[in-house]
């Protein structure tokens, strides 16, 4: 048994130390957001945040995480009370199949937490590990810019839906 801090709560998990965090999150803790895309650290779908840094949960065995804080997309907000990054992705409709999106959002969140005004080039470089097969890249970039703005405005009041 080991203790993991996930989304602010201490959780007891019965998993071997070499279990990648991804399986612990999905299988043991029934959290959906981090996805299995490759299990090889090549696509970014499994990205979560550990102590403020984005990590690939599929290549991060839980033995590394004793005493560290894990945050998943579920920990950022809900449908009723979405975090700025979640609002931004909804407002930009930045998804087609949506499978890669949770990983992108966690990478975005980690970036925006340490750099509140990233340039386009910085955002693109940050997302270099992330794959999107549907071709939603333009919207993902727009959503990240939007999230940066939402995070800056203290009172993020509901914004008009962008109509084409």
């Amino acid at each position: 048994m080991m203790k993991l801090n996930v989304n602010g709560s201490d959780r007891q998990v019965d998993a071997d130390p070499d279990t990648p965090l991804l399986y612990v999150l999905r299988d043991d803790l029934q959290l959906n957001a981090a996805k299995f895309g490759c299990g090889l650290g090549q696509c970014g779908s499994c990205t979560v945040i550990v102590d403020g840094k984005a990590v690939l949960s599929c290549v991060t065995p839980v033995v590394l995480l004793e005493g560290r804080k894990v945050t998943t997309l579920e920990g950022l907000g809900t449908i009723e009370a979405p975090a700025p990054i979640q609002r931004a992705f909804i407002e930009e409709q930045a998804a087609q199949c949506g499978y890669c999106i949770a990983g992108m959002m966690m990478r975005a969140q980690a970036l925006l937490q340490r750099n509140s005004k990233p340039t386009e080039a910085e955002i693109r470089a940050e997302l270099g590990l992330h794959l999107c097969r549907c071709g939603t890249h333009m919207r993902i970039l727009r959503a990240m810019h939007r999230a940066a703005k939402l995070m800056q405005t203290a009172d993020a009041s509901p914004t008009q839906r962008r109509t084409p």
């Binding site: 299990g39 890669c100 794959l131 549907c134 890249h137």
Partner: protein, 743 residues
Amino acid sequence: MSTVVLNRRSVLAGSGALIVSFSLRNAIAQDQGAPAATPPPPPPGSLKGAPYLDSWIRIDADGAVTVFTGKAEIGQGFRTACQQIAAEELDVPFASLKLVTADTARTANEGYTSGSNSMKDSGTAVQHAAAQVRTLLIAEAARRLELPAESLNTGNGAVMAPDGRRLDYGELVAGEMLHVQAQAKSALKDPAAYRVMGQSVPRVDIPAKVTGGAAYVQDMRLPGMLHARVVRPPGYGAELTACDTSAVEKMPGVVKIVRDGNFLAVVAAKEFQAVKAMQVLASAAKWKETAKLPKQDNLPEMLTSLPSRDEIIFQQSNPSAAAARTIEATYTRPYQAHGSIGPSCAVAQLAGDTMTVWSHTQGVYPDRQGIAEMLRVPPARVRVIHVEGSGCYGHNGADDAAADAALIARALPGVPVRVQWTREQEHAWEPFGPAMVTRMKASLDGNGAIVDWSFDVWSNTHSTRPGGAGSMLAAQHMEQPFALPAPRPIPQPEGGGDRNAIPIYKFPNAKVVHHFIPAMPLRVSAMRGLGAYHNVFSMESFMDELAVLAGADPVEFRLRHLDDKRGRDAIEKAAREFGWLNGQKAPPDRGYGFAFARYKNLAAYCAIASEVEVNRQTGRPRLVRAVAAVDSGQVVNPDGLINQIEGAILQSMSWTLYESVGFDDKRITSIDWQTYPILRFDAVPERVDVHVINRPGQPFLGSGETGQGPAAASIANAIADATGKRLRDLPLTRKRIKDAIDA
């Protein structure tokens, strides 16, 4: 004149009534000495195959409305669009509607969610069914209120009278009121009055996807569910000669090892236990490899040398046209992979004598048929329910994973079994988009107009979908295997390898030949666009080659040969929005390219202009910006449509610049993202602008596959413009561009 489809299903479903009335009418007509009456036209879209309204719409006593569609949400936004259509025609609040998608126990059989047919087939069916239901509700209200139907209105799920009385739909619906057949034509809402259709309603599935809600088959967790992993053979046709499972059986959490001929799988309590067991089982398995794959570096020669069934699919002749200059060119495409981001997954459970399979298959009914055949049970004992997976872009590993899950679940009656494919398995075992070769020859007359045109395309089938059990790996690998059914071409006007092979342009002389190659050295099937991707890439690249020969502007050259008005509008719109100027010259190291197609010559129109920069040192191409114009008929969700076209451009860019399946003489060698690189953010363009041409009231035109072919050709034409070199072999890699610049 359309005919009534007579098949067992429709007869049993009650179109017997139609038949009866048809023959009665005939009898009466003949009695009266009149000629036989024509049969009534069938209802539109998928209503043809499932004409009863309550197959599509159910209204409960409390007024809850449920809409049933046999199509699936595969990330293209269909669920939302379908819900918009129903809400509009029924006049109920959008958010109050519940939509049930493809499920063999609950929805009509609409075949596959493919071919960009969902809006045309299912959207149309839902639209007309909803409209007819609304008229029925009004008629019933009129009866009860003793008012003329024309005086009544609907809104917010109720029928309203001028005097203020109102009857909710729930109150009106009684008994078998909706168990009536769809009429051929229903009075549809005036597009000018649309409140929901035509609006960019936010996708209903996105909120859950961005907050960790259960959204995919990968997220399913049933009580008592076990995790399975398949150990696939190293290559096609490999035989399992030995497998000492004793070590695996002792591993923590392992519940069962399933071995059936060459099918090998392990089931464990926890997912990572299954992963580790799979690895040990894979090392314990000994295989005899039998595959003999062709040489990768002369694929086009190999393909065109295989026996083929040759069919002239289009011919037109005008001997008076005089050819002045002739050019020819050959274009090639390698095998390309769907490369779904989420490897395939399925859950199956044998409860009693019913096998239920949850799958992201594109076709729940065909899958059911295949799985039933594989399990050697009647189809009625199998239920397949669609649950979203990641984007599939055609026939990927979804059906195979479903078959895997069913086969394993059969060995563990009562237990839900989840099968998750690995990345390597998805890459190595998915059926690829077939390699293709096109050869074109065309002549210009003295005025620079095309006077003759010949187009030959060589390709495998573009569909080995189930149907038959033999389409699925588990069934092929079992002890008593099923053979892959003999491949057949998909007939025109849809086509497979010959999709979009017939030009939309008008040439005095034209001949199009489809060389259908039955032998499949690599596993192939439908990949988004089917043959259209390569056919449009080649045709639109060749049009540019001819334009250069004629000294003409590429846009003007296309317009000269196109009389389809909507096509012309799309071309002009894209050119205008791009800033395309006749005789323009791109900045140094840059080029402009243009391309246009109407998907299948039946579905949506798409024209794309692009600007590409080529680094002359390294050959690296960079898509700077792309501007598209799309005409999809009546637009249901403009933003959803734009999303699809943006996606098409970027996906096609990846196929076109990077992608080819790798293989040696025994195995597929491109088995992950290291060995099958695709588009990453460092190459994403600066801008992609999509302009929608809305056609209110016009039929829906499928748009999910309309952008890929024009995007490829547009980029290729821009590279040719930037470098002065024409590349004809996909993918247009940095190395190939560099070598072309050097030559």
